[in-house]
């Protein structure tokens, strides 16, 4: 999966953090796009441990749910496909509170 580049102009990229790694995204893109732009492209795991991806991209299925924080704000769970990225955004695909 990759961004359409030809004939498209986007604002300059900003950096967000996903599971500790730096990912470059364009303002106006959603948190879900940021996860897709990351190396793992992984949203959550099912109970067998297999990866699940986003499904509807319109706020209906909740498959894109991740934890997000801005800077040092508390973590919140949100549907990634509904929320735009912003500077200092941190995303976690696993419960940050239960991580070692």
């Amino acid at each position: 999966m990759k961004r359409i580049e030809q004939g498209v102009t986007r604002p300059a990229q900003i950096a967000v953090e996903i599971d500790g790694a730096r990912v470059m995204v364009h303002p106006g893109e959603t948190v879900a796009v940021a996860v897709l732009a990351s190396a793992s492209q992984r949203f959550r795991d099912d109970r067998s441990g297999a990866a699940r991806g986003m499904f509807c991209n319109m706020g209906t299925c909740s498959e894109c749910t991740v934890w997000a924080a801005v800077g040092t704000s508390p973590w919140r769970r949100l549907r990634g496909c509904l929320v735009p990225v912003e500077p200092s955004l941190r995303i976690s695909t696993r419960d940050p509170e239960s991580r070692p």
Binding site: R47, S62, T65, R77
Partner: protein
């Protein structure tokens, strides 16, 4: 089994036409096919697309709050359902064995909690009545409740406990009945709606089914309307009155968490049902209404999904979080709506319509919990030609006066 049609596109091959592929329709089909009847099930959408696939999956056998909130007369009437609830407990204990597959049935107990002394008094009244009727509920004071369910709020005054309560998975039960029914020779047609129904001179029924292959005309001696809240409307095709009223509800589910709640939780003084699924999600409901969509003329449109009522959703979640404080840390994943029905006296209406011999209905009330046992009793009624004693207080004949002016055939 193929449907053989005569030159006019009619079939008379079935002993019974079942309208509706929800829990009641599919469980009845399963029993009737096993009893040797030739069964045709017509489901307008897909199997389990009605209330049977949208409900909370609670197995509640204590007298429901809706009976208690209408005063002592209603509470006394409601108590009569306890005898049926006891049969339902047996039914659920054996259902996975009967259908030969796991159905996420968890019967680890249920609590109906109280927050005030007044509510504790209501619980005591209820528990006394239940025990008279052979249901061994038990009052727990707040200390006993804390011991049993430490995740619940320390501010609760106590609860009524019943060891048999629990929950099951509404997403898989109907499929299990439907597959078993087909194995026994039943025919199931989905995407197929009953669009016409009349009685012929000889007392048999002429049904028109509209499906993907056009219209099918079925001549049959018996029809079972297992059509949930649509049952009243379909009985109307024959000019009959079945007093069932739509009850649009909503349900919510949170993200997964570690096991915190092995029991079904209800509330005696507020609308609440809460449980944790095998995957760890918390399911929250309890009878809060959603909003029916209205047609241009103001009448409710029962063919469109009801919409979430935000005020009621907030109130529902507030009660839930008061009872289970840890809920505040969870995220709400989804809220959905579903429509079921209640009858004029709140008890299920199950059996043959006196004004229309051969026409059967089964709807009204908590028919996830009661559906499997009612389907068994109804199938016996149909196969044997008369209802077993256990059904006597649920028969449609208590509303026979409503059909005093029906003209049939």
């Amino acid at each position: 089994m193929m449907t053989s049609l005569n030159s006019r596109g009619e079939t008379s091959n079935f002993d019974i036409l079942i309208v509706g592929g929800g829990l009641v329709g599919c469980a009845s089909a399963w029993h009737l096919a096993r009893l040797g009847l030739k069964v045709l099930v017509a489901e307008r959408g897909h199997l389990n697309s009605g209330a049977s696939g949208q409900n909370a999956g609670s197995l509640h056998f204590q007298i429901e709050r809706r009976f208690l909130e209408q005063g002592e007369k209603a509470a006394a009437d409601g108590a009569r359902i306890v005898t049926l609830n006891r049969l339902a407990i047996e039914e659920w204990r054996g259902i996975e064995h009967m259908l030969g597959r796991p159905l996420d049935v968890a019967m680890h107990g249920g609590l109906m909690v109280a927050e005030t002394e007044e509510q504790m008094a209501l619980l005591a009244f209820k528990v006394a009545r239940e025990n008279e009727l052979g249901l061994s509920t038990q009052v727990l004071d707040s200390a006993q409740l804390r011991e049993r369910a430490p995740s619940l709020s320390p501010h609760l005054a106590g609860a009524a406990w019943l060891a048999d309560e629990g929950h099951a998975n509404p997403r898989i039960l109907v499929d299990a009945f439907a597959e078993g029914a087909v194995e026994q020779g039943a025919q199931i047609r989905t995407g197929t709606a009953l669009t016409g129904l009349s009685m012929a001179r000889d007392g048999t029924y002429r049904a028109v089914l509209s499906g993907p292959d056009g219209e099918l005309r079925v001549n049959t001696p018996r029809v079972l309307l297992a059509s949930g809240h649509w049952t009243a409307r379909l009985a109307g095709l024959l000019g009959l009155n079945v007093p069932l009223y739509a009850a649009p509800l909503m349900m919510s589910v949170t993200d997964r968490t570690e096991p915190v709640l092995p029991y079904l939780v209800q509330h005696v003084g507020a609308r609440l049902s809460m449980k944790q699924t095998e995957d760890g999600n918390l399911l929250i409901g309890g009878g809060w209404p959603s909003r029916l969509v209205r047609r241009a003329d103001g009448t409710p449109d029962l063919d469109r999904p009801a919409t979430v009522e935000m005020k009621n959703l907030r109130a529902n979640l507030a009660v839930a979080a008061r009872v289970l404080p840890g809920l505040a840390q969870r995220s709400l994943l989804r809220t959905w709506t579903g429509t079921t029905c209640i009858s004029a006296d709140q008890l299920p209406i199950v059996g043959e319509i006196p004004a229309a011999p051969g026409l059967f209905v089964a709807a009204g009330g908590s028919l996830f919990t009661l559906g499997p046992v009612l389907a068994r009793l109804l199938a016996r009624t149909i196969a044997e030609g008369s209802p077993p004693e256990e059904l006597s207080m649920f028969l449609p004949r208590r509303f026979a006066h409503l059909d005093a002016f029906a003209v049939l055939p």
